[in-house]
C-alpha cells in the first residue's frame, strides 16, 4: 500500500532567486575551469618546450673535469713545470648548518670592517669563530683525524672559504693519499657533505729553480672573468696567476671537459654520462737554459749566504734576439707551496720583508741605482755629443769640485788614478772622469745623457713577456720639477712632508747630472734593464725586447707554433765611440776593475767585456754590488747582469757570479773568484 504523500515532503519548487543563484554558481564554476584550461594550454602546449628544457637542465648537473695544463720546458726540452694528479678533499657548504654559515659571514664582515679602518687603529685580528654547533665540531674532529690535521685548521678553512665564496665547495685538504681517500669515499654516511675530487697540481722537478719565473696557478676570480683576455673562460677554470703561467696561460690552459651526472633534488647522483673530453693544455718551451739558470741561482745563493749581501738577482740574455737564458732572484721559495692553501705563516714567509720577500722577482722588479755599470751610457752620450774625444785625457787626482757650492766629489778611497782617457777611465772606473762628463753634459740642450739612457732601455719597461716588471727611473729636469710640484701640492693638503721630494723646491742641478753620470742619485734600474742596455751595446744595432717564450708544442714535443719575440728597436751608434767603450770594457776584465775575477779565463777564445758597479744607497748598511758583462761570441753570445743588495764592491759579490754563469754557458770549468778591486 502506498502511504499518502506528506505535503511537507513535496519537493519545493525552485524559486527564481535560487535558480539565479545556481546559474551564477554554475557560471562561476565555468569561468574558473576556463581559466585553468587556458593556463594549462599556455603552459603545456604553447611554452611546453621551454619548460621541458628547464626540466632537463634541472636533472643534469655538469661536473667539470679538469684539463691538465701544459708543461713548461727550458730551451733544451728539460721539464721545469709538469703536472701531478692529486686528490682534493672538499666540503659542500650546503651540508653545513646555517649557524656555521652565518658565523662565517659575520666573521667576513668584521674582517672587511677592520681592513677599512686606518692602519694602527685596526685593533687585534678578528678571531676565527669556533664551530657553530657541537655536531659540526664533532664532524670536523672525525674528518681531521682521518686527514691527519687539526680540527682547528678545518674550521679556519671552512670559515675563510665561506666568507669569501659562500656557495663554492670548501677545499679542506689538497693532496690526500689513496688510503685516506678510499676511507672517506667508502663511508659517505660518516662524513656528510665530504667529497673528493681529482685535481692536477703543478710539480716542479727542479725544486726552487726559476721559482719567481714559473709563477703559480689558481682559480679564475671575479675580476679576471671580466678581462678581455679571459673571454669565454668558464667560472672555476684554473688559470695562471703569475709568471710564465700567467704570460702563456692561453697555451698552457687546456679546455676543461665535463661529465654529466643525473641527480635528484637532493643532489644525489643517479647516473653518469661522459660529456666533453677535456683538451689538455699545450706545452710552452722557453728560452731559459737550465744550466745557466741553475748556476746563476746556485752562486747567487752562495754569495748571499756568505754575506754581507742579503738579496739579489741576475739576468742572462742572448744579446742578438733577447732570449732570456737565465733569470733568477734570491731569496727564493718552493713554488709547490703555492699549489696548496696558504697558511698565514707560509704567507708571511713569502711576502714579508723580514724573510726577504722571496716572491719578489728582483731581476725584473727590483730597481736600484746601478753605480758604475751606468758609465758606458755616459761615455756614449759624451762621445756622441762631442763633449769629449776618445783620446782626450783628464787628470784624475782623486777629487773634483762640483756645482755652485763647490761640493767635493771623490773616487772611492780618494784614490788618484792619474791621467785617464775614455778607455782607461772605463777600465779603471774613474769617477772623476765621469763626474767631469756629467758636468759637461748637464749644459747641453735636450739632456742627451738621459736620452741615451732611455735609448738603451732604462726608464721604461723592457717589455719582457712575464708580468711584474718595473720601469725604473731616469731622473731629469722635468722629473725633478714634477716631483717638486707634487710635493708642494701634497704639503698644502696635509701640512707635513710627503716624501716625494725634500721640500726645498730645489731644481735640477749639476750635482744631479753628475750623480747620474756614475749611476748614483735618483737613478733606478733593474738588472734586466741593465742587461738590455749592454745587449744593445754588444750587438751594436738594436735594443732587444727580452722574452722567455720560445715555442708552443703539443704533448709529444712537436712544434705547433713559434712565439715571435716583440720587435726590437734600432739604435745607431757612432762606431768609434762604441769601439772605444768596448775596448774599455774589455780592458776592465783584463787588467781593470774585474781583472782578478776573470783570472784564468780564456780571453782569446771568449773575450769578455764587463763593468763593475758599486752603488751607494741611502739607509742601507752596505753598497749595492753590480756587474754587467757580455761575450760577443759569433755563435753563442751572452750578456749577464748581476746585482746583490748590500753585497759591497761590484768585483767582490756580483762579478764572480757572472763569471760562473758565463763559464757554464761556454762549458768552461766553473771557478768562483772573488775580485779585490775597491773601485766603484
Amino acid at each position: 500500500m502506498i502511504e499518502p504523500v506528506a505535503a511537507e515532503d513535496r519537493r519545493p519548487p525552485i524559486t527564481p532567486q535560487l535558480a539565479l543563484r545556481i546559474a551564477l554558481l554554475g557560471g562561476f564554476a565555468f569561468v574558473l575551469f576556463a581559466i585553468i584550461f587556458f593556463r594549462l594550454w599556455y603552459l603545456q602546449v604553447l611554452s611546453g618546450d621551454q619548460y621541458l628544457q628547464q626540466a632537463r637542465d634541472n636533472r643534469v648537473r655538469e661536473v667539470r673535469v679538469q684539463a691538465p695544463r701544459g708543461n713548461v720546458l727550458d730551451r733544451n726540452g728539460d721539464v721545469l713545470v709538469e703536472n701531478r694528479a692529486a686528490t682534493v678533499v672538499q666540503l659542500d657548504p650546503e651540508a653545513l648548518p646555517v649557524a656555521e654559515r652565518d658565523a662565517a659571514a659575520t666573521w667576513g664582515q668584521r674582517v672587511t670592517a677592520r681592513s677599512k679602518r686606518p692602519k694602527g687603529k685596526r685593533g687585534p685580528l678578528v678571531a676565527i669563530p669556533p664551530p657553530a654547533t657541537p655536531q659540526t665540531e664533532q664532524r670536523f674532529t672525525s674528518l681531521a683525524r682521518v686527514l691527519g690535521m687539526s680540527p682547528r685548521t678545518i674550521q679556519e678553512r671552512v670559515v675563510k672559504s665561506l666568507a669569501m665564496l659562500p656557495y663554492a665547495d670548501i677545499t679542506v685538504k689538497v693532496d690526500v693519499d689513496v688510503p685516506k681517500r678510499n676511507y672517506l669515499v667508502e663511508q659517505p654516511e660518516r662524513f656528510p657533505g665530504v667529497s673528493v675530487e681529482r685535481r692536477y697540481l703543478r710539480r716542479y722537478p727542479h725544486g726552487t729553480l726559476a721559482a719567481q719565473l714559473v709563477g703559480s696557478i689558481g682559480e679564475i676570480d671575479e675580476q679576471e672573468l671580466k678581462l678581455k683576455r679571459f673571454k669565454g673562460v668558464p667560472q672555476g677554470t684554473v688559470i695562471g696567476q703569475a709568471g710564465l703561467e700567467r704570460a702563456y696561460d692561453q697555451y698552457l690552459r687546456g679546455v676543461d671537459g665535463s661529465t654529466r651526472i643525473a641527480i635528484d633534488a637532493l643532489g644525489r647522483p643517479k647516473s653518469t654520462t661522459q660529456g666533453r673530453d677535456p683538451t689538455p693544455g699545450r706545452s710552452v718551451r722557453t728560452t731559459l737554459d737550465g744550466g745557466v739558470q741553475e748556476t746563476g741561482e746556485k752562486y747567487l745563493r752562495q754569495v748571499i749566504e756568505q754575506g754581507p749581501g742579503v738579496a739579489g738577482g741576475f739576468v742572462a740574455l742572448d744579446p742578438r734576439n733577447g732570449d732570456v737564458l737565465g733569470l733568477g732572484s734570491y731569496p727564493t721559495f718552493k713554488p709547490s707551496v703555492l699549489s696548496r692553501p696558504l697558511t698565514q705563516q707560509m704567507a708571511d714567509r713569502l711576502y714579508s720583508d723580514k724573510f726577504g720577500a722571496p716572491l719578489f722577482n728582483r731581476a725584473i722588479s727590483g730597481s736600484y741605482p746601478t753605480g758604475s755599470t751606468f758609465k758606458p751610457i755616459t761615455a756614449l752620450a759624451a762621445m756622441s755629443t762631442g763633449v769629449v774625444q776618445p783620446r782626450d785625457v783628464i787628470d784624475d787626482n782623486g777629487c773634483i769640485k762640483i756645482g755652485a757650492n763647490h761640493e767635493e766629489r771623490c773616487n772611492a778611497g780618494h784614490e788618484a788614478l792619474g791621467p785617464v782617457n775614455m778607455t782607461s777611465a772605463l777600465s779603471k772606473s774613474s769617477d772623476v772622469y765621469f763626474y767631469t762628463m756629467g758636468q759637461r753634459l748637464n749644459y747641453l740642450a735636450g739632456q742627451p745623457l738621459q736620452r741615451w739612457a732611455r735609448r738603451l732601455g732604462l726608464g721604461h719597461s723592457t717589455g719582457i713577456d712575464v708580468p711584474g716588471e718595473f720601469g725604473g727611473t731616469v731622473p731629469d729636469r722635468a722629473w725633478r720639477d714634477r716631483l717638486n710640484a707634487k710635493e708642494a701640492r701634497c704639503r698644502k693638503r696635509v701640512h707635513r712632508a710627503c716624501g716625494y721630494a725634500d721640500g726645498t723646491d730645489r731644481p735640477w742641478t749639476e750635482g744631479d747630472e753628475v750623480n747620474l753620470a756614475v749611476g748614483q742619485g735618483d737613478l733606478q734600474a733593474t738588472p734586466l734593464q741593465m742587461a738590455v742596455a749592454y745587449a744593445t751595446l754588444a750587438n751594436g744595432t738594436h735594443r732587444v725586447r727580452p722574452h722567455l717564450g720560445a715555442a708552443v708544442e703539443d704533448a709529444g714535443g712537436r712544434l705547433l707554433q713559434r712565439i715571435e719575440p716583440g720587435t726590437s728597436k734600432a739604435v745607431r751608434f757612432d762606431p768609434i765611440a762604441r769601439q772605444t767603450i768596448l775596448d774599455g770594457l774589455h780592458d776592465a776584465t783584463v787588467d781593470g776593475t774585474s781583472a782578478d775575477v776573470w783570472k784564468g779565463w780564456p780571453q782569446d777564445r771568449y773575450p769578455v767585456f764587463g763593468k763593475t758597479g758599486t752603488a751607494q744607497r741611502v739607509n742601507r748598511p752596505n753598497d749595492q754590488s753590480w756587474y754587467v758583462c757580455f761575450v760577443n761570441d759569433r755563435a753563442r753570445p751572452i750578456v749577464v747582469a748581476v746585482t746583490v743588495e748590500d753585497g759591497g764592491w761590484g768585483a767582490e759579490a756580483a762579478a764572480p757570479i757572472a763569471r760562473t754563469i758565463v763559464s757554464n754557458w761556454y762549458r768552461e770549468p766553473i771557478k768562483f773568484v772573488a775580485g779585490k778591486s775597491h773601485t766603484r
Binding site: 502506498i2 545556481i22 593556463r39 603552459l43 611546453g48 628547464q54 636533472r59 643525473a262
Partner: protein, 403 residues
C-alpha cells in the same frame, strides 16, 4: 499520521519530522550514475598517478602509497554507499552534535595531535593519522545548513548572515591557528556558500567582502607593523610568492617553480616514465598537494584535461542535484559541497600552475591522504542521498498526482 497537507509551498516546508522519509526502494537507480562515474574516474586517475609518482619513495615497497590510497577509497566508497542509502534529512537533528564534534575534534588535535612539518593537524590513531580539519568540512556544512533551515523564516535578516558567518569563522580561526590556512579558507567558503544558496541579500555579501578586505589588510600590513603575529612568516611568503615566483626560486618560489616546470614539460601528451621532475624529487609533495603537477608531467595536457573534465562532471552533477533537492536542507548541503569542491579544485590546481598561492589544500580524491579521501566520499555520499531523496520525492509526488 502527519498533519494534512498545507497548500502554501513556502520554504518552511522543510520543517518535516525526521520520520517522514521517502522511500527510495522503488527507484530504478538509487544513485546518480554520472556522479559515480566522475568519482570512479578520479579514483582511478589517483591510483595510477600515485603509483607512478611514488614508486621510488619508500624503499622496498613501491606500492606503499597506492595500497593505502586504495584502502581509503574502498572504505570511503562503503561510507558513501551507506550515507546514500539513508535520508540526509535525518542529519538535521544532529546539528548540535555535529558542530560540537567539529569544535571538539579541532581542540583535541590542538591538545593531542602530532606535529608534522611544523603544524599540528592530525591525531595519530594507530593505523592512520586522523586530520580533524578535513572531516570538519562536512560537519560544518551539515551544522550550518541545519542552522539555516531552522531560521528559514528569517533568511533575509542581517542576524542570520552574521550568525552563520560567526559559526563558520570560529572553527576557521581555530584551524588557521594550527596552522592550517587551507582548511580555514574552505570553512569560510562553506559559510559563504550556505548563505548564498539560502538567499542572503547581496548587500550582506558586499558587507562581508568589505569586512574581509579590512581583515586581510590588518593581518598582512597593520599587524606586522605593530608587532602582532597573525600569519606565520612562511604563510605570508607562500601567499605572496606566487605573485612573482622567480624572485626567490630557492625558497618560497621553489615549489611553485618546480611545479610549473613539471606541468609545462609534460607538453601535449606527457613524458610518461621519463618524468624526471617527479622521479628525482624536484617536485615536492608530489603525491599530496602537488599531485596535479604529476598528472600534468606524466600525461601532459591530455591527462590534465581528463582529470579536469572529471571534476567538471562532478561539479555539474552537484549543481544538478542542487536543483532536484527535495528540501532546503538538501539544497544547502549540495550547494555547500559544490562550492567546497570547486574551491579546493581551483585553488589546488591554480597553485600547481602558478596562478594561486600555496595554501596546502589537497586536491579532492586525487591527493593521497585518508582524511581528505574519506571526507570527499562523505560529501559524495551526501550528494547521492540528496539525489536519491529528490528523485524519490519527485516520483512519489508524480505518482500521488496520478492517483
Amino acid at each position: 499520521m502527519p498533519p494534512p497537507a498545507l497548500t502554501t509551498p513556502i520554504r518552511d516546508v522543510d520543517d518535516v519530522p525526521v520520520a517522514a522519509t521517502a522511500r527510495t526502494a522503488g527507484l530504478a537507480l538509487p544513485f546518480d550514475p554520472l556522479l559515480l562515474l566522475a568519482v570512479v574516474g578520479l579514483c582511478a586517475a589517483s591510483l595510477v598517478t600515485i603509483s607512478g609518482a611514488t614508486a621510488d619513495d619508500v624503499t622496498g615497497d613501491p606500492h606503499y602509497f597506492v595500497d593505502r590510497q586504495a584502502v581509503y577509497f574502498v572504505v570511503g566508497l562503503v561510507l558513501a554507499v551507506v550515507l546514500a542509502r539513508i535520508d540526509y534529512s535525518r542529519l538535521r537533528a544532529t546539528k548540535y552534535f555535529a558542530y560540537g564534534l567539529l569544535i571538539a575534534s579541532i581542540l583535541a588535535v590542538q591538545a593531542l595531535g602530532t606535529v608534522a612539518r611544523g603544524s599540528r593537524r592530525a591525531i595519530d590513531v594507530g593505523f592512520f593519522s586522523f586530520q580533524a580539519s578535513e572531516l570538519g568540512k562536512v560537519l560544518l556544512l551539515v551544522a550550518l545548513s541545519a542552522f539555516v533551515v531552522d531560521r528559514s523564516r528569517t533568511l533575509h535578516h542581517r542576524d542570520t548572515t552574521v550568525r552563520v558567518m560567526l559559526l563558520a569563522l570560529i572553527p576557521a580561526g581555530l584551524v588557521i591557528i594550527q596552522p592550517d590556512l587551507g582548511s580555514g579558507l574552505v570553512y569560510v567558503v562553506i559559510g559563504l556558500a550556505v548563505l548564498f544558496i539560502a538567499g542572503a541579500g547581496w548587500r550582506h555579501f558586499a558587507a562581508l567582502f568589505a569586512l574581509g578586505a579590512v581583515a586581510v589588510a590588518l593581518t598582512l600590513v597593520v599587524a606586522p607593523k605593530v608587532g602582532v603575529t597573525v600569519l606565520h612568516g612562511y604563510q605570508k611568503d607562500r601567499l605572496t610568492a606566487f605573485l612573482n615566483p622567480t624572485d626567490n626560486p630557492a625558497k618560497q618560489g621553489y615549489q611553485q617553480n618546480q611545479s610549473r616546470i613539471a606541468i609545462g614539460s609534460g607538453e601535449k601528451t606527457g613524458r610518461g616514465d621519463r618524468a624526471t621532475q617527479t622521479k628525482y624529487n624536484f617536485l615536492p609533495e608530489h603525491h599530496t598537494d602537488f599531485v596535479f603537477a604529476v598528472v600534468g608531467e606524466r600525461w601532459g595536457f591530455a591527462g590534465a584535461a581528463f582529470v579536469l573534465s572529471m571534476y567538471a562532471l562532478l561539479i555539474w552533477r552537484g549543481l544538478r542535484i542542487l536543483t532536484i533537492a527535495k528540501n532546503l536542507f538538501g539544497a544547502l548541503i549540495a550547494g555547500g559541497i559544490v562550492s567546497m569542491l570547486l574551491f579546493q579544485v581551483f585553488v589546488n590546481v591554480g597553485m600547481t600552475i602558478g596562478i594561486m598561492p600555496i595554501t596546502g589544500i589537497p586536491l579532492p580524491l586525487l591527493s593521497y591522504g585518508g582524511s581528505s579521501v574519506l571526507t570527499t566520499f562523505l560529501a559524495v555520499g551526501l550528494l547521492q542521498s540528496i539525489y536519491a531523496q529528490g528523485r524519490a520525492s519527485a516520483a512519489i509526488k508524480g505518482r500521488g498526482l496520478a492517483i
